[in-house]
């Protein structure tokens, strides 16, 4: 139990720190690297919640895939070296007030919620997950495949060259 508490606080500090760096650093390229750190920390939170499969998915798809795509987009739209990648933010005060208000609103609601006991891990979670994906969730899974194909075709259509 102690290991979980220590792990939670380490993951939470890394996650919040990296997330703050994503939104505060002036260099957009550094922001993407901080996003990768933040996504890995989220994966560690998944591990703490006894979901090693989601940890692997998080690393492969998010930290591997999304970060690579964003890096490519930055390289295509801005020069990597030079002034153009540096950016200033706007409405920092208003944004901070609004974000803090949202957080306080959600957190004050959560802290009044009754405590729930954590049930013990039962059975092979991955096996259950696989059975659910081809059982009750088979139709959404197929729709998801259709959505991915459409999204990638759309991205290709947008990014095609004029010829």
């Amino acid at each position: 139990m102690t290991a979980e508490i220590v792990g939670f606080w380490v993951a939470a500090v890394v996650l919040v720190g990296a997330s703050l760096a994503v939104v505060l650093t002036p260099n957009l390229f550094h922001a993407v690297l901080w996003l990768a750190a933040s996504l890995v920390a989220t994966g560690v939170v998944f591990l703490l919640l006894d979901s090693p499969f989601l940890f692997a998915v998080q690393l492969l798809l998010y930290a591997g895939g999304v970060v690579t795509i964003v890096v490519f987009a930055i390289m295509l739209t801005e020069r990597l070296v030079g002034e153009s990648i540096r950016q200033t933010s706007r409405f920092v005060f208003n944004g901070a007030v609004l974000a803090a208000a949202v957080f306080v609103g959600i957190a004050s609601f959560l802290l009044h919620a009754p405590a729930v006991a954590r049930p013990a891990v039962s059975g092979d979670q991955l096996r259950e997950l696989g059975r659910a994906l081809v059982g009750p969730f088979a139709a959404p899974l197929q729709l998801l495949g259709v959505l991915l194909v459409i999204a990638l075709l759309g991205a290709l259509y947008f990014a095609r060259t004029e010829d």
């Binding site: 919040v16 994503v22 939104v23 996504l39 919640l49 989601l54 295509l76 947008f158």
Partner: protein, 99 residues
């Protein structure tokens, strides 16, 4: 750790992502903020799934992750097209539709 600890952590990350969306000028920066917000939602889903011993949360998380990847691909394609046409991805400069 209790369930509320995970939920408060997710709310904090969500608020940070919201701050990023509101304050970034660069369209890619705004997308990074959206990524953070979606990520916070995933923490919520997994935490509820674990504490309620219900597998649906994990499956929703898988769907969210896949949809986010599609969203990023389309969003960045749009950003690249906008850059090709307007030579800028500053959100403040993209006011063609303003009346």
């Amino acid at each position: 750790m209790p369930l509320s600890a995970y939920l408060v952590l997710a709310a904090l990350v969500f608020a940070i992502g919201l701050f990023g969306v509101l304050t970034r000028r660069n369209a890619v920066g705004i997308l990074l903020g959206i990524e953070l917000m979606l990520n916070a939602v995933n923490i919520n889903l997994v935490a509820f799934s674990r504490f309620r011993a219900d597998l649906a949360g994990l499956i929703f998380t898988l769907f969210t992750i896949a949809i986010t990847v599609a969203e990023v691909a389309v969003g960045l394609a749009i950003v690249i097209v906008i850059f090709r046409v307007r030579r800028t991805i500053e959100a403040d400069h993209l006011d063609l539709l303003r009346g």
